[in-house]
Amino acid sequence: MSTSSSLWAVTVATLKKDIRLEWRSKDALNSMLFFSLLVVVIFSFSFDPLAEESRHIVGGLVWVAFLFAAVVALNQTWARELRNQVLDAYRVSPAPANALFLAKVLGNFIFVSVLEALMTPLFVIFYNLHVLGPAWQLIPLALLGTWALVVNGTFFAAMSLRTRNRELMLPLLLFPISIPALLGMVAGTTAVLTGDNPAHFYIVLLVTYDVVFTTASLALFETILHAE
């Protein structure tokens, strides 16, 4: 009883702390929002598509914008804990390492989901979107895709903390590993928007990806945190 309840208690406490910090400073959310707004505007200048064409390309544009914006937030997750040696204090405390990881992943998941909820209407306006397939499938695609980005992103952000140029390191590690997930999100979104083919396969792919990498991250995070 004690391990699972303390895992949960530490997760909730850390998550609450992170959300409170973010609510007061709004650092990550503001920079992500402005960044993805810039991406939307630049994309709309550079492509200027018709409604029919935009349906085919917007799946890619949306996810590329969210991926870049998520990197902005992910880079700040652990940097916050480095100030005043919080991370070192965490390492010597008896709290389970996975609780810290889960709290960070959940926090990032919430921030990126908020970003997506705010940015999606903008994409609809800029690209005159009209969904032809079953629109409800966009919700599981978005949730699973965000989880895929965030779980690996949080893990690799913790990894790149130990490197010389950590802000640069995160995308270099994250993007190659995220290729199958990104493919699933982009192709699934395009399938729903155009209504040409069913998106079920992509949802299954994303579920598999999420399960595999969540397990791997939870199994290896303690090693990464304590690696000395």
Binding site: I177, F201, L205, A216, T223
Partner: protein
């Protein structure tokens, strides 16, 4: 080492020349593709060598991660034994046998391959104890990236005259090889940019993530392709025995070459670490020599 290395280098150079002669002069010309196909004798052996080196890297990384704690070591050991046992049982199930036969594979060959996984795992653990596992991982990743680059360069050169295009974006083998290359380049970048002590654990974890990623890439593109047919390498089909013979000779020659390069890189990395260790010991011991060798740190203090 000092005496064997030049002898082996000369032998493998001669072997490579012989393989080149076989590939250019002895092997018959392809009925469909003409002389262009002869690039296969470089393309395919490089691909096999690269995959072999990447799997060595994966096994060494898993061993390195497992060696951190005894409990994890025994868990990993049981998982590997379990993989071997389950794999052998599965290959003898009638449904799987029928599947394998229809794909042109012999069940006994499949069972032997599966049995090799635990053997490979334990042999690597036995021959490369402790830090040597990590050195083996770096070495195999570096040489593997070189061979994978050869594959990615010769592939388009071959595809252009045969398929009419340089690159088929939806093709399963092209894309998964490219992603594999990207993952291992990011692995090498991590090793380059990471600060000394923790690098090895981080890199081993990244190698495990990369290995988990590869089947997912393959799976996702496999579905992608069945939806959007693309020109692909003719699946199945049989090969002229003389061609297969030349291909295997060529692979052997490249394997010898890869082994030599890995060996010298392995020695170099070991020496490099020994030197670093000595420097660290020297500065710990203090005294005059440390003052002389570390002027920067002292002035910073």
């Amino acid at each position: 080492m000092k005496r064997a290395f030049p002898v082996l280098s000369i032998l493998s150079a001669a072997f490579l020349v012989y393989a080149l002669y076989q590939a250019l002069a002895v092997a018959p010309t392809d009925a469909m593709q003409g002389e262009v196909y002869r690039i296969i004798y470089y393309h395919v052996p490089s691909a096999w060598t690269a995959f072999l080196l990447f799997s060595i890297n994966f096994v060494a990384s898993v061993q390195y991660l497992a060696s951190a704690t005894p409990s994890r070591q025994s868990t990993a050991r049981w998982i590997v034994i379990g993989v071997g046992v389950v794999g052998i049982i599965v290959t003898f199930l009638p449904q799987v046998q029928a599947q394998l036969k229809s794909a042109g594979m012999r069940p006994s060959a499949m069972a032997t391959t599966v049995l090799l996984i635990p053997i490979f795992y334990f042999l690597i653990g036995k021959w490369f104890p402790g830090q040597r596992l990590d050195v083996l991982a770096v070495t195999s990743a570096e040489v593997g990236v070189v061979f994978c680059t050869v594959v990615l360069v010769t592939g388009p050169l071959w595809a252009r005259p045969v398929w009419g295009i340089w690159w088929a974006p939806g093709d399963i083998r092209l894309t998964s090889t490219l992603v594999l290359w990207l993952i291992y380049v990011s692995y090498l970048v991590l090793r380059r940019f990471s600060s000394s002590a923790q690098t090895q654990m981080l890199a081993a974890a990244l190698a495990v993530f990369g290995a988990l990623d590869v089947p997912l890439v393959y799976f996702s593109i496999w579905f992608f392709r069945t939806q959007h047919p693309q020109p692909v390498i003719g699946g199945g089909g049989s090969m002229d025995p003389r061609m297969l013979h030349t291909l295997l000779i060529s692979w052997m020659a490249w394997l010898c070459f890869a082994f030599l390069v890995c060996w010298s890189r392995f020695r170099l990395e070991l020496l490099h670490r020994e030197v670093e260790e000595l420097h660290a010991l020297e500065s710990l011991a203090g005294g005059e020599s440390a003052k002389a060798s570390l002027p920067l740190q002292r002035s910073a203090r």
